[in-house]
Subunit: 368 residues, 2 copies
């Protein structure tokens, strides 16, 4: 059997330097855990535009469709702000999501004990927090037609359409229930069924899928505005939250901010199973390309490294190895190592991007 394949797209800004640390981790798993990957690397975003005049070539797109998982760094930068909308760096990422049909966006919000003080919330509210928000990513009001700014009489009208089909809701609901079974077996679905018919359908379909296929999972429903409140008040009440594209956009960012350290947060975007049973998958850190600190060694590689841990868990069914990697990150943080974005405690000297990567690899060694 051939090795599983990974396409690495470091992208722009700090993308290449955080990805260099992920490469160390990938190499470690190959050398020490007998888990070799066939790794290829390519361009996405501004650097792809510079080289080819497009943020994602057809060749790279085709490669992404063929591999077992895509690992992406970050895209964009001020250099590309004046580009036409159609070739902006972000379009490369959107094309990947769309053509791979990555409908389930997994956004964990985890608070590392050593970093609980970084949160604006009280320590007891966030310490040990471990929730997973699943955002529907390929439909809803960001994609529905009709859309646009139109002239009506003598004024303009802005229109977008929230539109969900039963099958779109059903597949992301299944993702949530499957995930919950591997966690604390609880799903909370959020919408605004009290004022939106698309929310009524969302609630009905989630309940139907539950009753027919996942009756063992604890399911609750909450209005999205109450959800925003409850995430703020006592986030540990949740295990898995499933919600639509727009509500998920806000709630996943809100949940991320609860942890206080965006530089730590990974994400996965999953689609339908491929012929080999693995889901179409793209893994990337939540943070952006941070062009202001690119090349200074200040970037935090942890979010990107934890994105690879998600790949181990969700694409390669290596949950134990994913946990090993997450534990290594935890151990490094418990030792007090901090990149520049995590300063705040008195007298701590920051380590560089590479030093953080090396320290995590050393902890992996120590785990054997």
């Amino acid at each position: 059997m051939s090795n599983p394949s990974l396409l690495i797209l470091p992208g722009d800004g700090i993308g290449p330097e955080v990805m260099a640390e992920v490469r160390k981790v990938i190499d470690w798993f190959g050398a020490k855990r007998d888990m070799a990957f066939d790794v290829s690397e390519d361009l996405v975003g501004g650097c792809a535009y510079d080289a080819h005049g497009t943020p994602l070539t057809d060749e790279t797109m085709a490669k992404a469709q063929e591999v077992d998982a895509v690992l992406l760094g970050a895209v964009g930068g001020p250099k590309y702000d004046t580009l036409d909308f159609s070739v902006k760096p972000e379009r490369g990422l959107l094309r990947l999501r769309k053509e791979m049909d990555l409908y389930a966006n997994l956004r964990p919000a985890q608070c590392f004990d050593a970093l609980a003080d970084f949160s604006s919330l009280k320590k007891d509210v966030v310490a040990g927090l471990d929730i997973m928000i699943i955002r529907e990513l390929t439909s809803g009001v960001y994609f529905g037609e009709p859309r646009g700014v139109f002239k009506e009489g003598n004024e303009r009208v802005g229109i977008n359409t929230q539109r969900y089909t039963e099958s779109e809701i059903a597949r992301v609901a299944r993702s949530a229930f499957e995930l919950a079974r591997k966690r604390d077996n609880k799903v909370c679905s959020m919408e605004k069924a009290n004022v939106m018919e698309s929310g009524v359908l969302w609630r009905d379909v989630v309940q139907e899928i539950h009753d027919a296929e996942y009756p063992d999972v604890e399911l609750s429903h909450m209005y999205a505005d109450a959800g925003a409140m409850q995430l703020t008040r006592w986030p540990k009440q949740f295990d898995v939250i499933v919600t639509d594209n727009l509500f998920g956009d806000l709630l996943s960012d809100l949940a991320a901010m609860l942890t206080g350290s965006l530089g730590m947060l990974p994400s996965a975007s999953l689609g339908a199973p491929m012929a080999n049973g693995r889901p179409k998958a793209l893994y990337e850190p939540v943070h952006g390309s941070a062009p202001d600190i690119a090349g200074t060694g200040k970037a935090n590689p942890i979010a990107c490294i934890l994105s690879f841990a998600m790949a181990l868990r969700y694409s390669f069914d290596k949950g134990d190895e994913a946990t090993r990697l997450e534990d290594a990150v935890n151990a490094v943080l418990a030792d007090g190592l901090r990149t520049a974005d995590l300063l705040g405690e008195d007298g701590v000297q920051p380590v560089s991007t590479a030093e953080m990567g090396d320290a995590i690899v050393a902890k992996l060694d120590a785990s054997l």
Copy 2:
């Protein structure tokens, strides 16, 4: 000149008992500040249904249109859960908002120093917090057509339409700029212009109104998901936030929860100026009818009393008297008086709804 007129609609659950305390305050301003109001009282919600078979009679609706301001308690309760959608208690409130065309929903999020510990956020993050969220209330995706659950092939599709006209955006933007001028002169407008054309129009129109009519006000724009993050991270960076109906629904509740005590928060819903120059106006607490504690003396009357303070400020141009009332509330809290919803500190005995109202009136006396 005749007295300004107030229509009081206590509603259901704890509505009547908190409104009874507001009546004490209204009477105090009549007796001690020479500010007599012509007060009439009527039914809304479940109690109106019980009496007349409708949650709001045409006669009450007509009265609401004629008075200078409407003050509402709360509506709803389990007794009415099985009623047809068209006569549910909430429909009475929605009819008021709709027929009075109350497009600007003012949702202050203020943290009282004495209550800062109730927040899930760190004390320094919320102590002294004083922001105002203005939510567009009569348009957007909760009202746009087409809407519904339709059959398409052999599956259901849920559809709602986000729709904003230029004039709808312009009028609520003006509300925000006017308000900012009386506060810290800063407005932050939130939308998702990066992915929604209705957001692009929102941003453009807010900027145009600013440049043409309010160039003295500091205006910034933020994506709504970043707004949710920033509200959680450091809410004091904001003064006035203006946003659409859906984003405002989530963000105003999120901001309310930052303060940690929903029982304290008032709201105003304002429409266009009437012939006398006063805006159409409805004032109500953010909390609900809390049927579980109705009649037990446990209800906190402060949110409803502070709603009357908003009426003094926004309908009757008595900002100084509004501040006097707010200061009285502050003083009572600083003395340690707590209704049952505000317990948590050791050894504090709760006061009743009426005792809280009396204490606030006593502080008003002391202010003279």
